[in-house]
Amino acid sequence: AQRVTQPEKLLSVFKGAPVELKCNYSYSGSPELFWYVQYSRQRLQLLLRHISRESIKGFTADLNKGETSFHLKKPFAQEEDSAMYYCALNPADNYGQNFVFGPGTRLSVLP
């Protein structure tokens, strides 16, 4: 079955430092990967998806099928980036399997 892992529960960086939130997945097909974010007292919302290959709020993520990873990166962290980040997988080519979220990483950007 498909699975998403995020090895860090908490990641603390200083403002202006680079940040990388790790995401690894296990899935035998061709997955669609997402990053969702939840800021304090706000709803869970989409940050970016791999098929768009876009940069949102300075964040980028590249799907590496060889390493089965979809790490989220930002060169210079800002305090407003502090939030919970969830990596998620959509097994869109396998109707019998479900959308799955990772356990999440709490990013804390220190002043």
């Binding site: 998403v4 869970l44 919302q45 098929i51 969830y86 959509n90 097994p91 479900n98 959308f99 979220f101």
Partner: protein
């Protein structure tokens, strides 16, 4: 556009009692999801509807949980009877496209925080 609405926002019940949650998705969205998020974990999909039909309920504990989406719009999720381990945030989400299609974005409601004592 108005977002996904959920009620109530908070609910405290005793074990073995019943509880129901309500969700109103974004207008025109075909697919509706219910997730359970236990503290410290990511959301876990319980059930997925496309219009008023169930697409997947493989992770729904059917001995105590039930859900329906009458007329393909609003949805209710019920727990009867509740157990201590059901304490969690219950999230509803909706998306425009058909279930499990590529390029789809899920829009989440604020969630209902359930505490079972």
């Amino acid at each position: 556009e108005a977002g996904v609405a959920q009620s109530p926002r908070y609910k405290i019940i005793e074990k073995r009692q019943s509880v129901a949650f309500w969700c109103n998705p974004i207008s025109g969205h075909a697919t509706l999801y219910w997730y359970q998020q236990i503290l410290g974990q990511g959301p876990k999909l319980l059930i997925q509807f496309q219009n008023n039909g169930v697409v997947d309920d493989s992770q729904l504990p059917k001995d105590r949980f039930s859900a329906e989406r009458l007329k393909g719009v609003d949805s209710t999720l019920k727990i009867q009877p509740a157990k201590l381990e059901d304490s969690a945030v219950y999230l509803c989400a909706s998306s425009l496209r058909r279930a499990k299609s590529r390029g789809d974005t899920q829009y989440f409601g604020p969630g209902t925080r359930l505490t079972v004592l």
